[in-house]
């Protein structure tokens, strides 16, 4: 990390690195928290923490990995301590609920519809699995980088991603509207497993 001498330099250096990543940070928080309000809180906390720790950032890992690491930790903390309060989700996130309209098979649903189902399913994953899946499958990080961000051994991340994927499939398959009416899918799945 380049040594900068004054306030403006520090802010400028941080912004130069962080602004291109703010979208990713927000998306990580959104996928982890499951609603925009909490996501914004966590993303904000991530940026502030990153800025405060910026002086200690030694460049051992990529800046993005470091930022992802802070973001996932902030979200995991928030998920652990989240109180069961009335969330703004009620007001603002109605569109996130699984739609009630007549379903089709997941594959044939419109992409936007599938994403909504996927987001709903994500909420059911345990936080640790969700963190691994968020970084690898949703953010597209290589396993190695995700392992660095999560400060976990590579094997652990791989196994968590794999188990999270399987759980997602189970949750999505459970949607009776999608799969209950299609015996071909159910039958084939059991047979192949």
């Amino acid at each position: 990390m380049a040594v900068t001498r004054n306030r403006e330099d520090t802010i400028a250096a941080f912004e130069a690195l962080a602004i291109p990543l703010e979208k990713q940070v927000y998306h990580v928080c959104l996928n982890m928290m499951g609603n925009r309000e909490d996501a914004e809180d966590c993303a904000q906390e991530t940026m502030l923490k990153a800025f405060r720790g910026f002086a200690r950032f030694e460049g051992r890992s990529k800046f993005s990995t470091w930022l992802y690491s802070i973001a996932t930790n902030v979200c995991l903390d928030a998920l652990r301590t989240r109180r069961d309060a009335v969330s703004l989700e009620v007001l603002q996130e109605a569109g996130w609920e699984v739609a009630d309209e007549a379903p089709e098979a997941y594959e044939r649903l419109e992409a936007a519809e599938r994403r909504r189902l996927l987001k709903a399913a994500l909420k059911e994953l345990p936080p640790d699995f969700k963190a691994a899946l968020t970084l690898v499958d949703l953010q597209g990080l290589p396993y190695q980088e995700a392992a660095e961000a999560l400060e976990l051994p590579l094997g652990t991340v791989k196994s968590r991603v794999s188990r999270a994927r399987n759980q997602l499939l189970v949750i999505l398959s459970r949607q009776p509207e999608l799969f209950g009416q299609n015996p071909r899918h159910n039958g084939e799945r059991r047979e192949k497993r």
Binding site: M1, V3, T4, R5, N6, R7, T10, I11, E15, E22, K23, Y26, H27, L30, N31, R36, E40, D41, A43, Q44, E45, M47, L48, K49, F51, R52, F54, A55, E58, R83, A85, V86, S87, L88, V90, L91, Y106, E107, A111, A112, R114, R115, L118, K119, L122, L133, D137, L138, G140, R165, L168, L169, L172, S173, R184, H185, E188, R189, K192, R193
Partner: protein, 389 residues
């Protein structure tokens, strides 16, 4: 191709890293296997899950503002790893040597009635040892800080609150001291404490079975004045022991601070939403969210205040025991003449005590002696009369 093999190839397929032959086999499997098709579809969707999720403008604006509001401490030069270890090793050596010297000093005090001249050197070594340990424990990240004086290390209270990156340390000092001028020293301590803006949190004076008093004081001393105040106490009476602990609460402090800021920002957003609320349901939900946020804000504010108070005012546990006039442990270096005079006085005092003790003993046994004497006299008289016959 089976499902397991297919699963392991999906990542490569989606990343476009797959061999043509594998690709054909995979496609064939996917065509016939609904489960794997679903798996691939989910993976593809996962990559695009946030396609429609725009970054809220409020987030982009508020974090930029938040870092502008932060007071930036210029980036510190990173101390190389080995320097830290060297500093810690040096501190350890000083602590061990200082403790050893003091141990000797304390042994000398308890072992001989008159403390040899130069004994304070051990005490001074012990004290400086403590300070080095403190520096190493808390400032090892920041080598230049170790060179700073004790006074400048602990910044005064109002400044601490204004410098977010400052190390937050809760210091606790314990001092045991003995004095012959108990009343005078006790008063002086309280007056001096008041002068430097400290306060007595708890004070208890007990009188022991020997008639000597001991004061147990818990004092809150402004952190910036702790070292100078401790020096002052050291010069008063006879220092028996001193220990210090320093708890670094920086991480907890700044985490709490960050959470508080987040909650404050959330509160602003909630209030803005409140103004736009259209239905009763919305109003009720928002009221509840605001109450919840306010609770968090109050809780974090309370925690910060508590930590601030402990950081700004160090705790000093002082035990001040009264020494009897006979106790010759001295706080100052003595000349040979002083020692002879002191020894003579001591001898006379011992003699007086012995004489007094002897007098008490005699008084106690006198009736018995008289009784025995009477019996002896009577027996002797009887024996004499018989002999005469």
């Amino acid at each position: 191709m089976n499902c397991k093999r297919c699963e392991s190839l999906l990542d490569q397929y989606l990343d476009g890293l797959m061999e043509a032959s594998d690709k054909a086999a995979l496609k064939e499997h996917l065509h016939g296997c609904a489960h794997c098709r679903l798996r691939m579809q989910v993976l593809e969707d996962s990559r695009r899950i946030n396609e429609e999720d725009e970054v809220p403008v409020s987030f982009s604006a508020s974090w930029r503002q938040a870092i502008q509001d932060e007071e930036v401490v210029p980036m510190k030069r990173q101390t190389p790893g080995w320097t830290k270890w060297l500093a810690m090793a040096a501190a350890l050596v000083v602590v061990v040597a200082g403790t050893w010297l003091t141990g000797n000093e304390l042994n000398r005090i308890s072992g001989s009635p008159v403390k040899p001249a130069g004994g304070m050197a051990g005490g001074a070594g012990y004290y400086s040892g403590l300070e080095s340990a403190d520096s190493a424990a808390n400032y090892d990240m920041d080598a230049p800080a170790m060179a700073e004086s004790a006074m400048t290390r602990s910044a005064p209270a109002p400044q601490m609150a204004a410098q977010p990156q400052e190390t937050k340390i809760i210091r606790t000092l314990s001092i045991q001291s003995a004095t012959r001028n108990f009343d005078a020293d006790y008063q002086t301590i309280r007056q001096d404490l008041e002068k430097i803006g400290g306060r007595v949190e708890n004070a208890e004076v007990r009188t022991g079975s020997n008639g000597l008093r001991t004061a147990y004081l818990t004092l809150r001393v402004p952190a910036a004045r702790l070292d100078s105040f401790a020096e002052q106490l050291k010069g008063m009476g006879h220092l028996q022991s001193i220990s210090e602990s320093a708890q670094d609460v920086s991480e907890r402090y700044y985490d709490t601070d960050a959470r508080l800021k987040t909650q404050l920002a959330k509160m602003e957003r909630l209030r803005a939403l409140m103004e736009k609320a259209a239905s009763v349901e919305e109003l009720i939900s928002l009221e509840s969210a605001i109450a919840d946020t306010q609770y968090q804000i109050d809780s974090y504010t309370g925690q910060l205040k508590g930590m601030d108070s402990q950081v700004n005012d160090a705790t000093l546990n002082l035990t001040l025991s009264e020494m009897s006039a006979l106790d010759t442990a001295e706080t100052k270096a003595e000349t040979l003449w002083d020692r002879i005079a002191s020894g003579t006085v001591h001898m006379w005092q011992m003699l007086k005590i012995w004489a007094a003790d002897a007098a008490v003993f005699l008084a106690a046994v006198l009736p018995v002696i008289i009784l025995i004497a009477i019996v002896v006299i009577i027996i002797k008289a009887i024996v004499k009369r018989r002999n005469k016959k």
